[in-house]
């Protein structure tokens, strides 16, 4: 049995090595050239009122009662597509913020192990639940209010982070470092 355990451990280490050496994918935000701190993690959450309007329950009821079957089907499909696209945007905002949180950790002289583990645990939880919600929306089970709640939490975090960055003072060098680090290529050693 230990024969297999050691071989499996080595295989796992090699897989982890390959994964950790892979270049991270550049996010859509990075490709668009997101800047700090004005757009820090709030690009998509700021569109919530428009999305709420576009996904209003009244419209849904109106089309379902007055429109043809074909129109209603198309309407429902479009709404689902919009919601999913918006959710993808929210995740992007969230990931940018998380990236920023990591950079703060990297640039800090002291880092608390408990806080870092907590962040890791919560991030894993978020990812798992987020995918679940996405699946529910895709299947047509989730309601609009659920998406609004999610957006509010992400946008709240974003506002606090923007404030905090401004609190750091007018550290232009830091801001540019954070900005360049959010481009998906990471913090550079030299």
């Amino acid at each position: 049995m230990y024969f297999d355990v050691f071989l499996a451990l080595t295989g796992l280490l090699l897989l982890l090595l390959i994964w950790s050496l892979r270049k991270p994918r550049r996010s859509a935000a990075a490709q668009r050239g997101m800047s700090l701190p004005d757009e820090c993690g709030s690009r998509h959450t700021s569109y919530l009122p428009q999305i709420q309007q576009a996904l209003a329950v009244a419209d849904y009821d109106y089309v379902s009662q007055r429109g043809s079957r074909e129109l209603f089907r198309r309407f429902r499909k479009e709404r689902r597509r919009t919601t999913l696209a918006y959710l993808a945007g929210l995740r992007e905002d969230f990931q940018n913020l998380l990236g920023l949180a990591r950079i703060i950790a990297v640039l800090s002289p002291e880092v608390a192990a408990l806080q870092e583990f907590e962040k890791l645990r919560l991030t894993c939880q978020f990812r798992w639940r987020f995918e679940w919600l996405r699946l529910e929306i895709w299947l047509g089970h989730a309601r609009l209010v659920d998406v609004s709640n999610l957006a509010n939490v992400v946008s709240g975090l974003s506002v606090r982070m923007q404030k905090a960055i401004k609190e750091l003072g007018e550290r232009a060098a830091l801001a540019s470092k954070l900005g360049s680090s959010l481009d998906g290529r990471g913090v550079h050693p030299v």
């Binding site: 806080q115 639940r129 529910e136």
Partner: protein, 256 residues
């Protein structure tokens, strides 16, 4: 067949020594010993011992007790030197990020210790295999530490220099190979010894070539002076972020 393999092992041994000497000259001529003093020491120790053991095997044979003890003593010294060199590499990769480094080295050391203890406790103890197992366990710990550092870097989005990456991959592949090799050796001891020597040398040659590639140019001086954030920033922001993440997860949980 065994005689042919023995000749092959000897040829490979000479090739390894030659490549190691070339690499050592490269390190000295490019002045990379400044960046990697522990690696240079490891290379020097390993090459010197290899030559010595090779000559001993040639004069006394593979099976003499003296050759056996010398061979294993050399392994102990070489692993010790490699552990130091790996520590040096980890420091290279992360030490400039003071907070992360302080967190990382504790976690990595603890992981290595847990892995070592597990390996010793989990396997049945046999005196005849004690050295093979000890070597395998140490190599596993070394590989885990290197992979751990790269995982840390990936998690925090820190990018390593190409030379450091190659150095790390060189150490890790060799250690992983030794773990696999020693595990197989433990089970098929008698019929595998010569092949084990051959494969181990082949793996080491691969690592030597990777290190040579990494150190083919003179590495620029690294500055450890990095502008860090004021002390209170992390402690002010991180609990806030975690709190928000918590509430985000709570609101997601309510959806179910």
């Amino acid at each position: 067949m065994i005689a042919e393999l023995q000749k092959l092992v000897q040829a490979l041994w000479i090739a390894n020594i030659a490549v190691a000497v070339i690499l050592f000259v490269l390190v000295i001529s490019r002045r990379n010993y400044r960046a990697f003093p522990a690696f240079t020491l490891y290379l020097l120790t390993n090459t010197t011992l290899s030559i010595w053991v090779f000559l001993t095997y040639k004069h006394r044979g593979f099976t003499s007790p003296f050759s056996w003890w010398l061979g294993w003593s050399m392994q102990v010294v070489a692993i010790g030197a490699r552990a130091l060199a790996v520590g040096e590499l980890c420091k290279h990769l992360l030490a400039r990020y003071r907070g992360i480094w302080n967190l990382a080295w504790r976690i990595l050391l603890a992981s290595a210790a847990i892995l070592l203890i597990y390996s010793w406790v989990a396997t049945k103890y046999l005196w005849t295999l004690a050295l093979v197992r000890a070597q395998r366990d140490l190599e596993l710990a070394i590989a885990a530490v290197i992979v751990g550092v790269f995982v840390f870097m990936r998690h925090y989005g820190i990018e390593a220099r190409a030379a450091d990456r190659f150095m790390g991959v060189g150490y890790c592949l060799y250690s992983c190979f030794k773990v696999v090799n020693n595990t197989i050796l433990e089970r098929y001891l008698d019929q595998y010894v010569m092949l084990w020597n051959f494969l181990e040398m082949l793996a080491f040659l691969g690592s030597l070539l990777l290190w040579s590639w990494a150190l083919r140019k003179r590495l620029p001086e690294e500055s450890n002076d990095m502008e860090l954030l004021p002390e209170g920033v992390y402690s002010a922001l991180t609990p806030e972020i975690n709190g928000r993440l918590e509430s985000l997860n709570e609101s997601l949980k309510r959806l179910w």
